[in-house]
Structure formats: C-alpha cells, structure tokens
C-alpha cells in the first residue's frame, strides 16, 4: 500500500512451482500483539452471527469489527490500525500482494482460525472454495501472529498441489503425502497460498491456542509482470531442456522442480501447467520448460487444415 517491497523473479517462480511463499517474521511484534488481543474476538463475533446470536445494534465495538463485504477494495477494507489493516500495510506483505494480485485487489473474505490447545482433530485435506478454471488466481494470506512450534497446530499443506484440478475436500482421503509440511515458524510469519493449494487444520498438541488470520484476495487486473522483473529477460528462455541444454539460473530450472509425492509421469504434466501459468504471468507465449508446449504447438500448426 503506502510502501512495499516487490517480490523477485526467484520468489514468483517458486510460487508458481510450489504454490506458496513464506514471509518469515515480517509482521512487527506490536501488530502481532494487537492481533492476539483482537482476532479471537473476531472469531467469536462470527460464531455468534453464524449461530444467530448477532451482535446488537448498541454493541458498537463488535459492529466496528465486522468483516468487510466481499468485493471491498483492500485499501478501503480495514482501518490502518486494525490487525488486518496493519498486517497488509507491512511493506514486505504489501509488496508480495502487489506482486501477485496487483495494487488494487479486493477482499474476498477473511477468517480467524483458532485451533485450541489439546484439540487433536486432524481436518481432512482440502482446497478452499470450489474447483477453479483458468489461469488467473487468488491468493490467501495465512498470518501466524505467535510462534508455532512443531505439533502446535501449524497448518498442514502440500507443496506443489495448487495446479491439480480437485474440488474442495475431495482429497480428504490423503492422510500422509511425502513432502507435505506443517507450518512452524516465528511470530509474524505470513504464508501466501495460491488459491488451489491443498491444506488442512492440524492437531494442536501444545498448551496454547493456535491463532491464525486468513485473508483471501481477488485480483482485479491482469496479473502481468507485477513483480520486480528487472532480471526477467535474461532468465526467461523458452529452450531450456533437461535432455539438451539447461541454463543455470533460468526460470525453467525453478519450474522443473518435482515434489516427493509426485508420480514421475504427472510431474511432467505439472511442468506443463507451470509453464502455462508462467506464460500468463509474463505475457511471453514462447516460454517453455523442457519443450513440452513448444513441440506440440508446432506440430498442431502443421496439421491445421
């Protein structure tokens, strides 16, 4: 918003390949402390409204904390001194938002997720909302305003799952996937998810409630070269091929990365999906990884009547 630090090409390429980006301990302690005071109340307010015990008209404090309506411009959605308003104005966070969804995204919704101490329920794996089409994407900010140690309810998530076409909890069957992660990290860490990333609430074996603020943002402009692209041209080759010539530092090298839970055959299809998304983000229709798109496009051009 006021000031921001744009993401690098490496960070955006990693986001495209893995579906998440971690901004470790970027939110200052004072904002985290405010969040720990107020976010649980926001959750209780939602719970009351959901269960029909809506806050009374005279309850000014609760009314002032009611969430913004879906579609509200992020800049107008939160007071600068509110927890979410202060968090999205942190330069590193503001820069990441701007780099991924532009400078005028709108709020889809926010929610406060509380995993109480001793709650050992393991939520089924899922992606939020419904099955999605197209290349444009939303982002979801997962803000942990306090330290989360292993086993203390840090969100479970599956790197590289964001481009698989599934609907909501149709993936709940998967209890263990190689390479999955459970968030751990210091207070003030914000993990940004691609909308499609598989995740789940995890058991909290700790002695403190785990609090997490989640904010989903929709882009309102083409997501075209929004990050710091000063180093992009030299690294954006379309002929980087693992069985021919590979260039150290190329974007293709980042997008070629596999995940431990990928079938080798599907890994190649993931590479194709990432290359398509990278073309969308850069406007470079000649970009490719391992020649998968190029060879088929050239053949198709030959066979078109």
């Amino acid at each position: 918003m006021e000031t921001s630090t744009l993401l690098t090409t490496d960070q955006v390429a990693s986001f495209v390949a893995r579906g998440f980006l971690t901004l470790e301990a970027v939110v200052p302690e004072a904002i985290n402390a405010r969040a720990m005071e107020q976010l649980p109340g926001l959750f209780r307010g939602w719970l009351d409204e959901f269960t029909g015990v809506a806050p009374g008209a005279s309850d000014g404090e609760l009314l002032s904390q009611r969430p913004p309506r879906s579609g509200t411009t992020l800049h107008d959605a939160y007071a600068a001194d509110s927890p979410f308003g202060a968090m999205v104005r942190v330069p590193a966070v503001a820069g990441a938002i701007r780099s991924l969804v532009g400078d005028r995204p709108v709020v889809d919704h926010h929610f406060v997720h509380i995993k109480t101490a001793g709650d050992l329920h393991a939520q089924g794996l899922h992606c939020d909302a419904i099955i999605d089409e197209g290349l444009a994407f939303d982002i979801q900010l997962f803000w942990f305003p306090h330290d989360v140690a292993p086993g203390e309810g840090g969100t479970r998530f599956v790197p590289g799952s964001h481009l698989r076409r599934v609907n909501m909890d149709d993936v709940a069957r998967y209890q263990h996937l190689s390479g999955e992660q459970y968030f751990t990290g210091p207070a003030g860490t914000v993990v940004i998810f691609h909308q499609g990333l598989w995740h789940a609430g995890a058991p909290n074996h700790g002695t403190k409630d785990r609090v997490m603020g989640k904010l989903r943002l929709n882009p309102t402009q083409p997501q075209l070269r929004l990050w710091d692209t000063s180093d992009l041209a030299a690294r954006n080759r379309g002929d980087d091929h693992m069985f021919a010539r590979m260039e150290p530092g190329s974007v293709a090298a980042a997008l070629r990365r596999s995940e431990p839970w990928y079938e080798p055959s599907t890994h190649r299809l993931e590479t194709v999906q990432r290359a398509r998304l990278w073309r969308h983000l850069t406007g470079d229709d000649g970009f490719d990884v391992d020649w998968y798109l190029t060879r088929t496009e050239r053949r198709a051009a030959l066979s078109t009547p």
Binding site: L163, R164, R165, V166, D170, V171, R173, Y174, Q175, H176, L177, S178, P260, W261, Y262, E263, P264, S265, T266, L269, E270, V272, Q273
Partner: protein, 87 residues
C-alpha cells in the same frame, strides 16, 4: 468381538505394485486395539505390504485421459487398497 477390518491405502509412483510409496492412509476397524502402522510410510512399496500379509482389494483402473484434458493433473493416479482382518 467379531472379526474387524483394517484398511491401508497406498499411492504409488507408477501402476506397478513394485513402485515406491508416495502417500498412505490407514483406517482402523479395531479403534486402535489392533496392530498399528509403525513407520511413515508403513511400507516402501506395494509388494512390501503384500509380503507383510495385507490383501489387495482394489487398484486404480487404467483410464485413458479425457480428450481435451490430457495434461491436467488431478488426484493421485495409482491408488491401491489393502485390507487386513483382525480377530
């Protein structure tokens, strides 16, 4: 207590039971009183589960990709379902 079923699901790296395990789930009809998986993953391959006495119930059919969607990844492809009966 009657005979109860434990179900082990393995997702493998290829359609072969000899392929290595990418993911797994365990559903326990004994509510924890029967033998439990001891390692993560419980077996390195599908064949290793057979060797340990699990019976194969089902494996993913080999379905040709849907035309126009050949390159879209979705669920894990190579799912194997095993059972073990506990008396």
């Amino acid at each position: 207590m009657s005979v109860r079923q434990q179900v082990l699901m393995l997702w493998l790296a290829s359609p072969s039971l000899e392929a290595h395990v990418l993911g797994w789930s365990f559903f326990d009809g004994t509510s924890g009183t029967g033998p439990q998986p001891a390692t993560d993953p419980p077996y390195p391959t599908g064949v290793a589960a057979l060797v340990d006495g699990w019976r194969l119930l089902q494996m993913s059919p080999m379905i040709p990709p849907t035309s126009g969607h050949e390159r879209e990844p979705s669920f894990l492809k190579h799912e194997f379902v095993f059972e073990r009966l506990i008396d």
